[in-house]
């Protein structure tokens, strides 16, 4: 009697099983890698309408963050400066640079400059800049070495797990208040950071929220 199925089909279920397993594993790994903020967001560096360089302004010239982002210490939002702030220097410096054409135009016409948003949190997340920079969390922790960025790049994933890393262990990131806006400050060692961080945590009563209400309203 000839068999209904040839012999090679004996191994078929196992083969199919293995292929499915591999496919499944690839999908899981693929999604975890390609569809999470670590991949989708980190490294996002859109071309801005005005090629403003943080590297030049904050790095080489050493202008303080708060010169432009004036309300970062008072408000939840860190404001993008108005055109007038740009022009307060650029009516004397590089007055006819072609790169600044849009800024001059905006200043004359009153139309705002359409900066492209780099860091966008979902609408249901209420992040507050003021409370972080006033309590020893540097711009650096979220925005990276911004004073070395020619074009602003999304440096950290800014996912909820990433936020909670810090909220669970603030001592790893707390720094002296006068170093908050210093992008180049680094702790001497991890040990030194932990010691200092714990001390600050104790002294300032740092107890970041871990429940939903901290960020979602």
């Amino acid at each position: 009697m000839s068999s209904a199925f040839p012999k090679w089909t004996n191994a078929l279920p196992i083969k199919i099983g293995i292929i499915l397993l591999v496919l499944f594993a690839t999908t899981v790994v693929g999604i975890t890698y390609y569809f999470t903020p670590k991949y989708t967001r980190v490294g996002y560096a859109p071309t801005q309408p005005v090629p403003f360089s943080h590297e030049l302004h904050a790095g080489q010239l050493g202008i303080d963050c708060r010169f432009c982002h004036t309300h970062v210490e008072q408000s939840g939002h860190s404001n993008v400066p108005d055109t007038e702030t740009c022009m307060s220097c650029h009516n004397a410096v590089a007055t006819d640079s072609p790169k600044l054409e849009l800024v001059r135009q905006s200043y004359e016409s009153g139309e705002p400059i359409p900066w492209v948003r780099v860091h966008a949190l979902p609408d249901y997340v209420y992040f507050n800049h003021a409370v972080h920079v006033n309590r020893g969390i540097s711009c650096y922790e979220c925005h990276g070495q911004i004073n070395q960025m020619e074009v602003v790049t999304h440096d950290q994933p800014m996912s909820m797990a990433w936020c909670l890393d810090c909220h669970r262990k603030p001592e790893e990131y707390l720094r002296p208040l006068d170093e908050v806006f210093n992008m180049d400050w680094r702790p001497e060692s991890r040990q030194a950071q932990l010691e200092m961080g714990l001390e600050f945590k104790e002294e300032w009563d740092v107890n970041p929220p871990l429940s939903c209400s901290g960020c979602h309203r």
Binding site: T70, P112, R135, S213
Partner: protein, 1094 residues
């Protein structure tokens, strides 16, 4: 082994007589109501109706097709940040800015602070600089922000049916001005709303000078200025009465709803609550006697309430005045005249004597308030009685107001009738809708040459007008108003006019032909001219900053009331109650508790805000007393009326189905659904204004009936000779009162003041938990702040969150002072971006409001099957109680509702998958489910699914509070204790603390939205882990109890039981509140008598 505490099974008799009944259905114990009680949402709330399977598949196919199209846009969308070109000073992006202003409402202004986000007003709060209100507001003020963003408001002006440009409108006004200058104003008539704006009055004076022959008439369907007119005549100078309830230990209200419909209700409510609040046994508490025909908020607060037809109130007013004069040895001539006038009247002398004795005993700390609609003689008699009590200068003051005169509507109509009016300029108001029925607006339009209309909505009056000039909202205009106490308040714009609108002052100035027409300049001039010799700019800046002009309140007059003048007003015989029967009914017209006289008709928040007494939304009804209902039932050819409560088959789904009756007065008729309302005078029918608009926006369209159709100019507030007739039709009513009933246990706990003195623990000795000591009492003696954090579970086995937070939030609500005014309900709606759902969805029980105010009736009888006429009303605001052992949390499969470390029961909307298990498990029924995408969909297209229009109106987007997520379809929501306000307070404190550990928020730093709005200051919120915080003090009071405390869910919100203060010498005095009487009757039928006496 776990000990099971057995709760006693109710007996059959007990089930037959409910302790509290909230609706007539409940009394009748109908199957419909039973099913209501058993279900979490009313039947039908979770059923997809009107869509059959085929239709459903069709819709779904379409939605898949759309989804396919959408897949192409998977890439990250590019978003832009558009900074200012030139950053304005003082604007910090992301921080709200507050500006002082005031909301004009029927002549007076309500001082407000407008919260603005990026120059966009989002929320209205009271202005705390104005001392009488202490930063409190009322219902319409809270809701007024929505009118600004109403897409149905008049967005452009029309002239001869065509859109009119800005210059065309100006030309029109200039032309009018030129035309009438030569004629000295002959032929020009202005029909305006009431206003005490000093600038407008200045313009009016200028108008009178330039156009001496022009007629200036002011008309309001509800006129609150009659006491002022009367007092001015009696004193011989412009004056009005101003009440100070905080000094009044005894108050008698004669058909005066001073807590509800009164221009000064905020200050009244606050002062009244101050005098009523009892913090410990031994504290003083005021007492309110109330005589009224309708059931009002004031009546709900009364310690003694007498139902009486408004027509008969005059005789009672005389009797009270006579009684007071006799006991105080006042003017005997006046007393004799008063007594003569009531010689033939049938009066409840015992009630009067008991009350008068109490008033006289308290002398100058007593106050009698007469309704504005009562006869002049009645009001004058009450003024005389107050003078005799020595109350003038104490609880009531006569203050000098500015000279003000305007023609009455009768005078204007005479002129129109004689053809003397060529141009009728209608300034605000809506006479075509709200003129009494004996004036036909059509006729007026024909008689006058042209009607020019200035108004905020394109409404009935605009329809027949030659020109409609669009008005600006008060949040878009410069102006000024006067508070009820006379203080001058600014109206300042928060935003540029959204549409092409005109400021009232600008229009008037142009009409007058003044050189200076900029509203800002006009107001500047008016205000600075009142403060001569000072730096004008500084005066004005301070005026705008504070939101009021210091020391501009009306001052008390020096003259005193002459009894002779009062005596001259008295009739020889007081009007009586004779002849009232079901064939001769009295009709009482009242402003609607939400939409007023119709001016807020197109405001969705107010339309959906339930009436505090009837609990009806989206419409009005003909309110009749239970006795009258019974009588009509017998008379009716078809006993349709009975289905409201008797025929169980008609209320299968627990929906109130009302027969439509026709109300007839003279030749005029109106049809409306009937609602049986306990507490009404037997033969008084109550109708509310504001509904039945024929030309209004999409919200107000088709809601209710127009009460003005049966209102005559000679009896504008109450009328006699009405009859009711059956039409055979019925209507489903959007009544929210049946929903979420709590089966009548010790829900609202009440006690009398006297009983409370004897037994301060009276509030703990009722209710189930008084019998279940094991669960609840083992940590009973611990201080609250320790109990909350250390043994939050009691003996519960359920797991519990660690309450380790720095603060522990809690709330207390004082039921003794809550009037049920609904200000908190809409304040919450405005703060928390709560959508409206529309009438149809309210009928299905899907309303979204996070706070509901339960209204209970108690009549003190064992057998509640008969609807009672005399009831005691109790109000209870119920919002999420933030249980420490929250039953909603363990049943959520996705951890969308969890506890935070500060004791909040939080909702993570993004986790919620909409199982609704939490709502099912909530004993308080305070969770609200988004059955539809209320924000994105049109209310009339909800069932069209993806085929309907999608997207929020741009204007509505502007109103949303950016600090609160806008929820979508399929998620649960509920009161969050204003978590956004808590978080922002915490953040502000941390920002201040910087490198110190001063991160604890001091008590009183912030208020939650309901607390901030509450005019009686009945809500307290704060940190209960701090024993010195105000809320901890409230919770330590003897009255404090937990709602359904025996469940051991440990709510963070507690209630302070309601105290009543009846006078034991009154004939209707009870030793116990009726609700408590019912509690004992039902739970202890055998030992009831001894319990009630002890």
């Amino acid at each position: 082994m776990k000990k099971i505490t057995k709760l006693p099974e109710p007996t059959a008799e007990e089930l037959a007589g409910p302790k509290y009944w909230r609706s007539l259905d409940e009394v009748a114990e109908t199957p419909g109501f039973r099913s209501f009680l058993d279900r979490e949402f009313p039947e039908g709330a979770s059923i997809l109706e009107t869509v059959d399977r085929r239709h459903f598949l069709k819709i779904m196919a379409a939605s898949f097709a759309f989804a396919g199209l959408g897949m192409t846009g998977c890439r990250r969308p590019e978003k832009y940040i558009l900074p200012y070109n030139q950053q304005p000073e003082h604007i910090v992006h992301g921080k709200p800015a507050y500006f002082a202003s005031s909301m004009p409402l029927r002549g007076y202004g309500i001082p407000v602070l407008a919260e603005t986000h990026a120059n966009r007003p989002t929320k209205i709060e009271g202005n705390p600089s104005f001392a009488p209100n202490n930063g409190k507001t009322d219902l319409p003020t809270q809701a007024s922000i929505l009118n600004l963003y109403d897409p149905d408001r008049a967005t452009r002006s029309l002239l001869d049916g065509r859109e009119a440009s800005r210059s065309a409108v100006r030309d029109l006004l200039d032309e009018l001005s030129r035309k009438y200058r030569d004629a000295e104003g002959r032929g020009l008539a202005i029909l305006a709303d009431q206003s005490r704006s000093p600038s407008r009055q200045r313009l009016r004076k200028a108008l009178a000078e330039r156009f001496p022959e022009a007629v200036w008439c002011e008309y309001e369907p509800l006129d609150y200025t009659r006491p002022e007119k009367l007092l001015s005549r009696l004193l011989g100078q412009s004056a009005k009465p101003l009440y100070d309830f905080s000094k009044a230990a005894r108050v008698l209200s004669l058909d005066a709803d001073f807590l509800g419909n009164d221009p000064n209700r905020i200050a009244h409510s606050r002062a009244f609550a101050q005098a009523r609040r009892v913090t410990a046994p031994g504290d003083e508490m005021n007492r309110l006697y109330c005589i009224e025909s309708a059931m009002t908020l004031t009546g709900g607060m009364a310690d003694h309430r007498k139902r009486l037809a408004t027509s008969a109130t005059e005789a009672y007013a005389f009797a009270f005045a006579a009684g007071v004069l006799r006991r105080t040895n006042g003017d005997s001539r006046l007393q004799a005249r008063l007594e003569a006038a009531i010689a033939d009247s049938a009066l409840d002398q015992e009630w009067i004597d008991g009350c008068v004795e109490d008033l006289v005993e308290n002398g100058s700390r007593s106050l009698i308030v007469a309704g504005d609609h009562l006869s002049e003689a009645a009001q004058a008699a009450v003024f005389a009685a107050n003078s005799a009590l020595g109350a003038v200068g104490e609880t009531i003051s006569f203050v000098a107001t500015e000279e003000h005169s305007a023609a009455s509507i009768h005078e204007l109509m005479d002129q129109v009738e004689n053809g003397e009016v060529e141009t009728l300029f209608v300034l605000n108001g809506n006479p075509a809708y709200n003129l009494p029925a004996d004036y036909s607006w059509k006729n007026i339009e024909e008689k006058v040459g042209e009607v020019i209309r200035y108004g905020y909505y394109y409404d009935e009056t605009s329809e027949g007008a030659r020109a409609h000039i669009a008005a600006t909202h008060y949040l878009e205009s410069w102006g000024d108003t006067r508070a009820p106490d006379g203080t001058i308040l600014p109206v300042q714009p928060m935003i540029q006019p959204l549409f092409q609108g005109y400021n009232e002052l600008e229009v008037l100035a142009r009409l007058v032909g003044m050189e200076k027409r900029e509203p800002y300049d006009l107001v500047f001039e008016t205000v600075t001219s009142l403060r001569d010799g000072l730096d004008k700019n500084k005066v004005f800046r301070v005026f705008l900053h504070d939101g009021l002009l210091e020391n501009s309140a009306y001052q008390p007059v020096e003259r005193s009331l002459s009894t002779g003048a009062v005596s001259d007003l008295l009739p020889t015989k007081a009007a009586g109650t004779e002849g009232f029967s079901r064939r001769n009914l009295e009709v009482r017209y009242l402003a609607d508790n939400s939409i007023d006289d119709g001016r807020f008709n197109n405001n969705g928040w107010l339309q959906e805000c339930p009436d505090p007494i009837t609990r009806l939304t989206w419409e009005n009804a003909i309110l009749i007393s239970p006795t009258l209902a019974r009588e009509l039932d017998l008379e009716a050819p078809d006993p349709t009326l009975a289905i409201v409560r008797k025929n169980p088959n008609e209320i299968k789904t627990g929906i109130q189905r009302s027969p439509i009756l026709e109300l007839r007065i003279g030749e005029k008729t109106v049809r409306g659904p009937v609602h049986i309302q306990p507490g009404l005078a037997t033969y008084t029918v109550v109708v509310h204004h504001g509904y039945g608009r024929t030309k209004t926006g999409r919200i107000g369209e088709g809601s209710g009936f127009n009460s003005n159709k049966v209102r005559y100019s000679d009896e504008p507030d109450f009328a006699r000779g009405a009859t009711l007739h059956f039409t055979g039709e019925t209507r489903n009513m959007a009544n929210v009162q049946n929903h979420w009933s709590m089966e009548g246990r010790a829900i609202i706990r009440e006690s009398n003041k006297e009983y409370f003195e004897k037994k301060p623990d009276a509030f703990q000795s009722v209710g189930m938990e008084s019998h279940t000591p094991l669960v609840l009492r083992h940590d009973h003696d611990m201080p609250l702040h320790e109990r909350a954090t250390q043994t939050p579970r009691g003996t519960s086995m359920h797991p519990h969150p660690e309450l380790t937070g720095r603060h522990q939030w809690g709330m207390a609500v004082d039921l003794s002072t809550c009037t049920g005014c609904n200000a908190c309900v809409v304040a919450c709606q405005s703060e928390n971006n709560i959508p409206i759902v529309g009438r149809d969805q309210v009928i299905r029980g899907r309303e979204m409001s996070w706070i509901r105010i339960d209204r209970y009736y108690a009549s003190g009888v064992e057998d509640n099957n008969e609807v009672a006429d005399d009831v005691q009303v109790s109000m209870q605001p119920v919002m999420c109680q933030h249980c420490e052992n929250a039953p909603c949390e363990p049943v959520c499969p996705v951890n969308a509702t969890v506890h935070d470390e500060e004791g909040l029961n939080v909702m993570a909307y993004n986790r919620c998958i909409g199982t609704r298990y939490c709502a099912n498990n909530c004993p308080y029924k305070v969770r609200r489910f988004n059955f539809f995408d209320w924000n994105e969909r049109q209310l009339d297209q909800l069932y069209l699914g993806p085929l309907g229009e999608k997207g929020m109106n741009e204007l509505h987007k502007m109103q949303k509070n950016p600090e609160v997520s806008v929820r979508m379809r399929g998620v649960m929501e509920k009161c969050t204790y204003c978590t956004q306000r808590i978080e922002s307070a915490k953040i502000n404190q941390k920002v201040l603390a910087r490198d110190s550990d001063n991160v604890k928020i001091p008590d009183g730093t912030f208020q939650v939205a309901c607390q901030q709005a509450c005019p009686t200051e009945s809500i307290m919120f704060g940190d209960i882990s701090d024993p010195e915080s105000e809320v901890s003090k409230w919770k330590r009071r003897e009255q404090d109890y937990l709602l359904l405390g025996y469940l051991n869910v440990r709510p963070r919100t507690s209630y302070l039981g309601r105290l009543r203060n009846p006078n034991p010498n009154m004939p209707d005095a009870d030793s116990l509140p009726l609700s408590r009487k019912e509690y004992y009757m039902k739970n202890y039928p055998e030992s009831y008598t001894s319990r009630a006496e002890n």
